[in-house]
Every structure is written in C-alpha cells, then in structure tokens.
Symmetry: C2
Subunit: 164 residues, 2 copies
C-alpha cells in the first residue's frame, strides 16, 4: 500500500478547486435569482415546490415523510416543520398510516395541486431566464451529465463492514 498521506489527504488540483468554487457560486446566484422571482410573485420558497411536486407525482398524491426526506434531501426535522407550515396553509394534510403505527401519510390537497401549478408558472420562466438563457442545449446536456457524477455519495465504510 502506498503512502497514506497521499491516500488520505490528497490536494485537489487547481481545476478541481476552480470547479468547486464555481459550483458554489453558480448555484447560489441562480438560486437567489429564482427565489427572488418567486418572492416578487408572492409565492412561497422553492422548498415548498419540491414537496408539492413530489406529492403531486406520487401514487394517490401521498407519500410517507421518510420517502419525502430522501427525495428532497431535507433533514428530518426540517421536513417535519415545513409540513407543519404547509398543513397550516392547507396545501397538504397528514393522515394515519395504519400499516405502521409510527408512520404517517402526507397527502397533497387540491389547494396544494393548484399552488404547485401556480408556482411552476413563475418557476419555469425563472429557470429559463437564469439558467437556460445562458447555455445552449448541448451545454445544458453536458452540464447535467457532469453534475450527475457528483451526486453519487462518497464512499463511507458501512458500520458492519468486514474490511477496515
């Protein structure tokens, strides 16, 4: 086995560091711009859209919170409270999940579906303006391709793994 300092603490190349800095910048700038457009239209933030979209797509318009967690990457407690707020404004509803007493169903309401559609009418042109207008189709595909590679979670030895 080679020198562990090279295995455990490799320096990123300049190219890699530049890609990282630009990833942070680009997403922040585009996200802020899109959120701003939503706010101007007096619509709720993007997190609400993500939740509504996942529910709208799901069978019977409902999901378990833990499923939503995985799909939205929201932390458990943040999702729980986001659902509180969305329930209070009537966009979703929590129902009992009889097959497992610990669980819940979260169901999208008609008002929720309407809000999802309403948000998309602002969100879609915002994506186009802040991202689409800056890339041609080939570049968008290329970017999506490269970014997909980054979303693979980094390897971590599982708890009960035999290999050290």
């Amino acid at each position: 086995m080679s020198d562990s300092s090279e295995i455990n603490s490799p320096q990123p190349s300049q190219s890699v560091t530049r890609a990282w800095v630009r990833l942070m910048r680009a997403q922040q700038i585009v996200l802020d711009a899109i959120e701003q457009d939503l706010k101007v239209a007096e619509l709720p933030p993007l997190g609400w859209y993500d939740v509504l979209l996942e529910l709208a797509r799901a069978d019977d318009g409902r999901l378990r919170p833990y499923e939503m967690e995985q799909r939205t990457l929201l932390a458990q407690h943040n999702l729980s409270r986001l659902l509180d707020r969305m329930e209070k404004t009537g966009l979703v509803q929590r129902e009992v999940f009889s097959e497992d007493g610990r669980g819940r169903w979260v169901m999208i309401t008609e008002a929720g579906r309407a809000m999802q559609a309403r948000m998309w009418r602002v969100y879609a042109p915002a994506i186009q303006r802040h991202l689409g207008d800056k890339l041609d189709e080939a570049q968008a595909d290329q970017l999506a391709e490269l970014l997909a590679a980054l979303s693979q979670k980094s390897y971590r030895a599982p708890k009960n793994s035999i290999e050290g």
Copy 2:
C-alpha cells in the same frame, strides 16, 4: 416583435430543467459532505473560511465589510453578524476607517490566519474526496467552464434606464 407570451414566459427545455435540478442536487450533496468533514474536525463552517480567505488575500489583511459582501455573496446583515462571531473568537478585528466615518476596516488576526490554514488542511482533501475523485481533469475544467456562464447575473433594467 413576436408573441409576448414567448418572450416573457418561455418554458425551459427538458435539458435545461435537468441541468437545474442536478445543479441543486450536486451542490447540496457535495456541500453537505464537506461541511460534515469540517464539523467532524471540530472546525467552523465554510462561511468562516470564505471570510478568512478573502481577508488573508487582501492587502494588509484587511477589507471593508461592503467589499467582503461582494466577494462572499453574503447578505449585509449576515456578514455583519458573522463578523461579530468571528471577532468574539478572535479571528478578526474591526478597526476605524478614517477616510469615511461610516466605514470600518475588518482585519484578520494571526489567529485568523492560523485558522484559515488549519481549515484548509481539512477542506482541501474534502474537496478532492467529494468532487475531485468523481471527475477527471478534463471534466473538472469542462464543468468549471460551463458553470462560469451561469454566474453572470441575469439582465435587469436599471432604474433610470430609458428603454422600457
């Protein structure tokens, strides 16, 4: 002039939408992983690093808050409070800016420079692990290139613009 509905509300193509979704995903996953590594090393969050790095690079190790704002993309009030916390832990120091009574200098301390270096020793391998290991050099360059296009702020008509 062509149909205004096409000008004002263009739908993003599937490629563009996919690129956007993956941009959000990829940056969240990589950012969370890097922040996690910092936390495990009992180091402060990335925002602190950004501030320290900008100051360390600046002439005489000091900048005006509004300059830091532009460079870090932090909101004014958030930067102000981040500086409060950093000052309290001795990493930076606020000093009078005599040429403009409204302004301040923010200066990095020796402890601040030490912390920047200490954080880099964790941050650098984290960038490599969570991003560099997933791309080759050519891909990293390509990604950086594509992302650069997105960081150009979208056009907004300036207040006093003549054209409507």
